[in-house]
Symmetry: C2
Subunit: 195 residues, 2 copies
DNA sequence: CGAATGACAGATATTGAAATCTGTCAGCTG
DNA sequence: CAGCTGACAGATTTCAATATCTGTCATTCG
């Protein structure tokens, strides 16, 4: 039996939707396309997702969650906090840069999706900030960092490094000085964190 | 005699263009509109600006230069460098926020113009960064700051505060925590600058 | 003679009619 | 009868005809 005869699940619909988005781009990907890719009528898709927007939001969340997952390992590590912070920020930058540079069209597609789904992005950022908070908290406990309010400080570190993870700067990630700029900002922030 | 009978200068064309952009927005503002506003034929406008793009670039430069000018006074001051740095960054944030919040449509217009004119924006950023460099250089001389390469450090400070001056974050400048976020980032950076 | 004009060709934008899509739901099917 | 279908109304998008704009230049005007 081909996959077409499998039971129709939300999961299969999400996979098909990602494929349709990859093929047609965010502007032309329709629910009818997704249904066609699955060999079902578009009415069936609406049984699992109330609206097209909800479907796209679910795809967005999946994608963002995959990114968070890649980083949580570093945040949970137990090396010295300064190294962990540097590694975490470098991994975030590297992951974003790899995605933007490796498949620009797909990255553009997800940029459109994230722009549509401010709420999902907000949760993702809250997730990343909480990973950062854990690292900084650990640093405060070992005495490597000084931070009256680790949560607020994590937020500041995240915002100050926006240029190296926010999609609106993707264009500049491939420019010659990008790596040096990243190091300069991180060095300055790490110095600011020390007691 | 009305202004219509004055000699046609680049300056008068630029003023009329700003007015037309303000009235019609960046998408609908045409060279014909500018000529009509001045009571001349559009051919006359082309005597002063080779293309529509050149005209829009000139308007963009004027606008950016006005912003740089507002800040250069602070950079040239002679109070203690840390205060000067904080004041300069606060003034930059305040100016941007005032422009974005005060007349959102006009701000959106200029956002479109700056997106069109990457070169002009590059010069503007170079100008601002050089003002910052002067402040940091001064701090190094008085011993308030430690910076091996003041130019690179200024660049890092500028980039790290992007969230508070880059138009792509304009939406968030009016949110409740914005001021606190700004202070947290600046505090962290200033700590990082101290010897 | 230098500055301004307006007709013009090619490029771009607007418009409205036709095609497609979204979301619903009564009925079909296994 | 649970899950799927496909016809449908209203919203949105596409497309091609039409109108407007950009940039040039031979000509006019003072």
């Amino acid at each position: 039996m081909g996959p077409t005869s499998e039971i129709l699940t939300a999961e299969r619909i999400l996979e098909a939707t990602e494929e349709v988005l990859r093929r047609h781009g965010p502007a032309k990907a329709t629910v009818v396309d997704v249904a066609r890719a699955l060999g079902v009528s578009h009415g069936s898709v609406y049984r699992h997702f109330r609206t097209k927007a909800a479907l796209r939001e679910a795809v967005t969340k999946r994608w963002l969650d995959r990114t968070s997952g890649e980083l949580s390992g570093i945040a949970a590590g137990n090396g010295d906090p300064e190294t962990r912070l540097r590694d975490w920020l470098a991994a975030l930058f590297a992951a974003k840069r790899r995605k933007a540079g490796g498949d620009p069209e797909l990255f553009a597609t997800y940029t459109v999706l994230t722009d549509e789904n401010g709420a999902a992005v907000g949760e993702h950022i809250a997730d990343l900030t909480s990973q950062l908070t854990r690292i900084i908290q650990a640093g405060v406990e070992t005495g490597d960092f000084a931070a009256a309010d680790p949560r607020a400080t994590a937020r500041a570190v995240f915002q100050a490094t926006g240029r190296f993870h926010d999609p609106c700067y993707a264009r500049e990630w491939e420019e010659p000085g990008a790596e040096a700029d990243f190091t300069a900002v991180v060095d300055l922030l790490v110095r600011g964190l020390r007691p």
